[in-house]
Amino acid sequence: MTTTPTPPHSLRTAAEPDTVPDPPPGAPDLHETDGHQPLRRDGDLLLTGRARFVDDIAPRGLMHAAILRSPHPHALIRGVDATRARERADVEVVLTGADAVDLATPLPHFFEPSIVGCRTTEFRCLATDRVRWVGEPVAAVVATSLAAAEAALDDIVVDYEPLPAVLDADEALREDAPVLFEEWGDNRLGLFPFAEGDAAAKIAAAPHVIRDELRVGRQHVAPMETRGYVAEWEPGGRLTLWASTQNPHPLRTNLATTLGVPEDRVRVVATRMGGGFGHKFNGYGEEPLVCLLSRLADAPVKWIETRKDCLLVGAREFTHRFEVGFDDDGVVLGLSDRIVGNIGCLAPWGGWSMTFPAGMTFPGPYRIADYAIESVPVVTNKAPWNGFRGYGKEQAAMALERIMDLVAEHRGIDPAEVRRRNFIPPEAFPFWTAAKHLDSGEYAAALDKALALAGYDALRERQAAALAQGRHLGVGIGFELTPEGGDFAGSFVRGFDTSTVRVHPSGAVSVLTGVTSPGTGNETSIAHLVAREFGIAVEAVGVTQGDTDSCPYGFGNFTSRSLATGGAAAVLAARELRERMADAASALLDADAADFEFRDGAVVSRTAPETSLTFAELAETIYRRGLAAPGLDQPLLEVTRIDLPHNFHHVPDDQGRFSAYPSFPYSAHVALVEVDAETGVVEVLEYSAIDDCGVVISPGFVAGQLYGAIAQGIGGALWEEVPYDEDGAPAAETFKHYLTPRAPDLPSFRLEHQHTPSPFTLLGTKGAGESGVGGAMAALLNAVNDGLRPLGVHAHRVPLTPPVVLDAIVSGGAP
């Protein structure tokens, strides 16, 4: 375990100290390259406006689609009259739910709820007889211009019979609540219990007990690029869909199923993505819909989500009701949390499943033998969820970290010390909990480094001095454990992935991979890894992602898995090729294959450096003389591999424990805020964090991920919310209501890294990408509450907008 600072200014010149840990067996030697990170691939294209996003795709003859959406949160559809829309001269196609029934099957779920024991139901690309949320697609129009398509929506008359709606999860659980899916009998989608020991007994016997509640409002991903699709269904039967999607291959499979087309005649191209973060997981009705519209229009059709429609997609609306028993020293003896997730309406989108990690992540980095966590996904008449970075894990971080602070406050112990007393110690790893097999961790060390980086003691002094002047500074700690790389057998959310490496006769190398990049830099890192295996320049390695016609089957981008899986698979494939090439070099140069090393663009004998061939010469010779020259008996310079499975425990052990996630990065955060006690406005003054995601391939890119995650966490903690009005419609329709952070809202974050390798992964890496959201949310939640302490109140409603904070102050809600 070591610490390395993130180079603050020049990523290219900052030398990574020689403190990178010894990599686990099988990992490439990263010492030379760490810190000399290549520039982001295609940066010049992006910087000069020449990169192509989905909305930039415009095949000849393109037409435009617009979608009519439900204005009601819950209603029966008694009829749809599209006559007038169809009569418009500029309208090519009008499709209603009833029309679509014969053209497309029900949609496959991104994550079929029944796999994890939940209730389920079927959905179509357009609603047929009932709508269950404002914004649900009801009909679609294709016209020669988008303006014409949108205008024609006014000419579709839908006869709705409004039904009672329920928006609040607690109300939805009441017996007299309107039921969304009658066949279920109530609104509970399922129940995820995670427990060890006997929490109730331990809490009952504990010397001190705290019971409290934490509420988190509905939040939203807000990628800068909204979703979009361009479909071209050629008369010959070949369908191409350009999609802003994180999962091109599963999307292709689903399209083939839904539309009844052989899978190999469907091509999905995941275009360059303007931010994903879960919003672009597949499962949306628009995916097959736009394809159908293209077939019906006999022309390419484009649909781009409006910002208002984008804001429909929800996440993170949770309530925690927790109980914690602890001793005089602040050691937790028993913990329970009943978590209710208001997942909106169920849909084939995957977001509802965030309720699983929300519970599974407990008890986080803490050694608590007795705990009982229940996470309950509840359907309501709000729009469905899709994924949102953090994926529910931020819920555990917020609740656990808030609990640590409450315990500290109760016992009069410093909050950092309470955490130290409860952390799982380093020597206890690997460590089992009910649903996690934790790989490795130096939690206390990470926290202590974060405190040092923040100047924790000095912050406390500043806080005291400010208070003497009537100003309320707050210091908050957030520690986050982030299960990454989840593998759910039976779904397309898998923990492995595939890469092909191909060496061309010229010595050029192609990597084709099943993982995609939403702008995380993984393509750059993958090229870098493969170039290192071959000892060639990184520029000689091309990486192709996202095109199902050229890439091997893969699952795309989610849960920070892309580099760990696709990158590891590419390394394995490159190594196999390297062996083949070394064998060939051995035959050609009459030297021992094991004696060759690949460096500086050549294959060189270690013992006799003059015995060498350039990488390109060797490749070309294998193509030209393979099978014709003695010893050149494997001329296939293309290998496809998957990465090796690691640390998955799908089959429960004798104690019923299982682990669907293989890697467990973590991070420690310290925030300083000032709470304006007269207005409730919170200003973020300083922010420091330590991140540990094991061995790091590209430190700059990992830092970039963290910075982004922290900003999203701060936004979620303080400002971001989509409230619903009394009519059941979302009230935030623009960025003037959904307040994602702007540059003046944030300080520069101080970030350093600790590296505790995973003993289980090929590269020693842990996932990097989601980590940081929950830590930031927790740190801010605690910082604001710390600032409120002298006022004797708590604020347990996130986001902590000024009205929420002032409410807490005015109502005097006692701690």
């Binding site: 603050p8 200014h9 020049s10 990523l11 290219r12 520039l39 982001r40 940066g43 010049d44 992006l46 910087l47 000069t48 406006g49 020449r50 990169a51 996003f53 909305d55 930039d56 415009a58 007038r84 009569e87 418009r88 001269a89 500029d90 303006a147 014409a148 807000a222 990628p223 800068m224 690029e225 909204t226 360059r272 303007g274 931010g275 973060f277 781009i304 910002r307 939403p518 702008g519 995380t520 830099g521 700059g700 890119f701 970039g704 910075y707 982004g708 995650a709 900003a711 999203q712 623009t734 960025f735 003037k736 994602t740 952070p741 702007r742 540059a743 003046p744 944030l746 520069s748 974050f749």
Partner: protein
């Protein structure tokens, strides 16, 4: 029943200079400048993130003034001199701001770049040595969801430093 024939949307010829080249395009009066740049002129580097003036991804420079092109009716831009991200620096080159953005990893998905590049350029043209707060204020009309602005702010400072270095003899 006969098809309803909508009367045509009013159109006009629009003369513009885009990235130094004279253009004459046929547009509908209802088109926004961003749509004309993207759809009629094929300049797709200017992005639409919100169509509400909030995110800045559609930023261009118009007659010397940086402008959100989703807030401009194209018909009102007759005769304007417009620079888009494609013409931000001469073809095949990167200016100090672009290069510093790349070197310091100031962007990830890159969708928001038009706003951030033009805002930083606009700042440095007015103030060659901005402090962190000045930079953050200059970026306030833009949104980025990937970077937390950390490297963006650092890159703007680095670009300023490199430009000052260039200027000093």
């Amino acid at each position: 029943m006969t098809a309803v024939e909508p009367d045509a949307a009013p159109e006009r010829d629009l003369a513009l200079t885009v990235n130094g080249r004279r253009k004459r395009v046929r547009i509908e009066d209802r088109q926004l400048l961003v749509d004309v740049l993207r759809d009629n002129l094929g300049m797709t580097g200017t992005h639409i993130g919100c169509a509400n003036g909030d995110c800045g991804a559609c930023t261009v420079r118009m007659d010397g003034q940086i402008t959100k092109s989703c807030l401009v009716l194209a018909a009102s831009a007759e005769g304007a001199d417009v620079t888009t991200i494609e013409g931000y620096s001469p073809r095949g080159t990167l200016d100090h701001v672009q290069q510093a953005f790349w070197d310091l990893d100031a962007f990830q998905c890159g969708f928001c770049l038009p706003g951030h590049l033009f805002a930083v350029r606009d700042l440095l043209d007015r103030d060659p040595d901005p402090g962190e707060d000045d930079i953050r204020e200059a970026l306030r009309g833009n949104l980025c969801r990937c970077t937390g602005y950390v490297n963006l702010v650092a890159a703007a400072g680095e670009a300023a430093r490199r430009e000052r270095e260039d200027q000093s003899p």
